[in-house]
């Protein structure tokens, strides 16, 4: 029988309540609490799972009562923990059917009042049984329930606004195929890359839109290939990037990926992150490490669950 998490939690809650009542409630109600506790143990599915193996154990509660209640009492228990648990359980059951056993045990151990013999019985029999059973039930509960899921609580200060998390991909037109590969990979991961022709509406003022693209970005990536030249639009983009870096400081990264046999890195970019890369994968790895933003926890895709 497979138990749900709620059933397991409910079993544990009730077990603890019955156990603590048996151990600590008013002595006048002890027999009543013993009945409640044993009834619960007999009927609860989780406790039943734990106690079921004890039924096969060969222990002799009658012999124990006789030895423990005689003039020179012997109240020892089996050394095997499973046998001990089984014996204690049966002692509780027999004490339920014949409460005089508790009295006889107490008298044999010099307890001459009801308070004394009940507390003695609780300490000698009930408490060790409850402690061991608690431990085993806890283990069974762990096995019966799935591992806890984990989510993150992100400080609002660490969540970028929509207009500050773009990644500006600066490149020469001839390098479009290379930059598209980065664009698609970033998009697939969940980033928001900015690429001039995709981000600009028809008829938009190029200079203004490029500047706006920078203002809404947290990083500018410069692809330095053999065809890169620090002139015209590219030179302006280098200037914009440096300007953004000054304004946003740690919240803006200038990432320069220099491919093999590429032109020299423009002087303005050299103080910032600048890596020689031999292929796209290497370049992408460097880019992810250099970005000031990161993605969240792993989760199942929406169409899977």
């Amino acid at each position: 029988m497979i138990l749900t998490s709620d059933q397991v939690a409910n079993s544990l809650r009730q077990f603890k309540s019955r156990r603590d009542s048996l151990l600590h409630d008013d002595i006048a109600t002890f027999e009543h609490q013993l009945r409640r506790f044993l009834d619960f143990c007999a009927n609860d599915p989780l406790v039943g799972k734990v106690l079921a193996p004890t039924e096969a154990r060969t222990v002799d509660p009658e012999a124990w009562w006789d030895a423990a209640s005689q003039h020179n009492p012997d109240a020892s228990f089996p050394s095997d923990p499973d046998d001990e648990l089984a014996l204690r359980y049966r002692l509780l059951q027999s004490a339920r059917t014949d409460p005089n056993r508790i009295f006889n045990l107490g008298i044999a151990h010099h307890q001459n009042k009801r308070d004394g013999w009940v507390e003695f019985f609780r300490t000698l029999i009930v408490r060790p049984f409850a402690d061991e059973l608690s431990h085993r039930i806890g283990e069974a509960a762990n096995l019966a329930t799935p591992e806890a899921r984990s989510i993150q609580a992100v400080p609002l200060s660490r969540i970028p606004r929509a207009n500050e998390k773009k990644i500006f991909l600066s490149h020469k037109s001839v390098d479009k195929p290379l930059v598209y590969r980065y664009y698609h990979a970033l998009k697939t991961l969940g980033f928001d890359p900015w690429l001039d022709e995709r981000a600009m509406p028809a008829g938009a003022n190029l200079e203004r839109e490029v500047l706006r693209g920078f203002e809404e970005s947290c990083a500018a990536v410069f692809f330095i290939t053999a065809s890169f030249k620090d002139e015209k639009y590219l030179a302006a983009e280098v200037d914009y990037a440096v300007m953004q870096k000054r304004q946003k400081e740690k919240k803006f990264a200038i990432v320069t990926l220099r491919y093999t046999n590429a032109a020299a890195v423009p002087g303005l970019l050299t103080p910032y992150i600048y890596k020689d890369v031999s292929n796209d994968l290497e370049g992408f790895d460097e880019l992810l490490k250099a970005l000031p933003i990161e993605l969240g926890q792993v989760r199942w895709k929406s169409h899977i669950v």
């Binding site: 544990l12 009930v126 608690s134 329930t145 806890a148 989510i151 993150q152 609580a153 400080p155």
Partner: protein, 194 residues
């Protein structure tokens, strides 16, 4: 060593507290305002303060006079935003466990010792007067209160989901269906569940 130090030595009681945490090491808590339950990772300093708080409620003078332990941080309830010391946000089960422990290991021995002393005092010599109009005798007997069994704490269900606060790196557990956390339980930083 001065007299007060000697007295401290005589009254110093060390408690062996064994708290039941769940599989992931979390202790169940209950907000002392709204009563709803969540869990935090256990902190020995916090348990020390929790035990101290229970002792004080029972009229006992406690305190770490060495000043070695620092008071644990306060907690903010993830449900109602009520803020209280960590030692105030324990479940009834935990509070009862601590109270039983203090009663069994400290108060009861003190009571038995006190009454045993009285019994000895009144049992020694004659405590009656027969020389005047009034004649009285006083007899005091004390039946030693039997020691109850040690309380058991736990087991703790491995329920609830883990929430990691990226502001301070600490973790709590809240019910699976609860998503309305907007402030860190430990440092009160505004947060958003990701």
């Amino acid at each position: 060593m001065g007299d007060s130090d000697q007295a401290d030595e005589h009254t110093k009681v060390t408690f062996g507290v064994s708290m039941g945490t769940d599989r992931d090491g979390f202790l169940r808590r209950a907000c002392d305002s709204c009563g709803r339950e969540f869990k935090t990772e256990t902190d020995p300093a916090d348990l020390q303060w929790a035990l101290g708080a229970q002792c004080q409620r029972m009229g006992l003078d406690v305190g770490d006079r060495d000043g070695q332990s620092t008071r644990p941080d306060s907690l903010t309830c993830p449900f109602c935003k009520h803020e209280a010391a960590g030692s105030e946000m324990h479940t009834n089960e935990t509070v009862e466990y601590l109270q039983r422990l203090v009663y069994r290991d400290y108060m009861l021995p003190q009571i038995n010792q006190t009454f045993a002393g009285l019994e000895e005092t009144f049992g020694r010599g004659t405590h009656g007067s027969g020389g005047g109009f009034l004649s009285m005798s006083l007899k005091f007997t004390h039946n030693r209160t039997p020691t109850p069994p040690r309380p058991v704490h736990g087991p703790e269900a491995p329920d609830m989901k883990i929430v990691t606060f990226l502001c301070c790196g600490k973790r709590i557990k809240v019910p699976e269906s609860f998503f309305a956390i907007d402030v860190c339980v430990y440092c009160k930083t505004p947060v958003l569940l990701a």
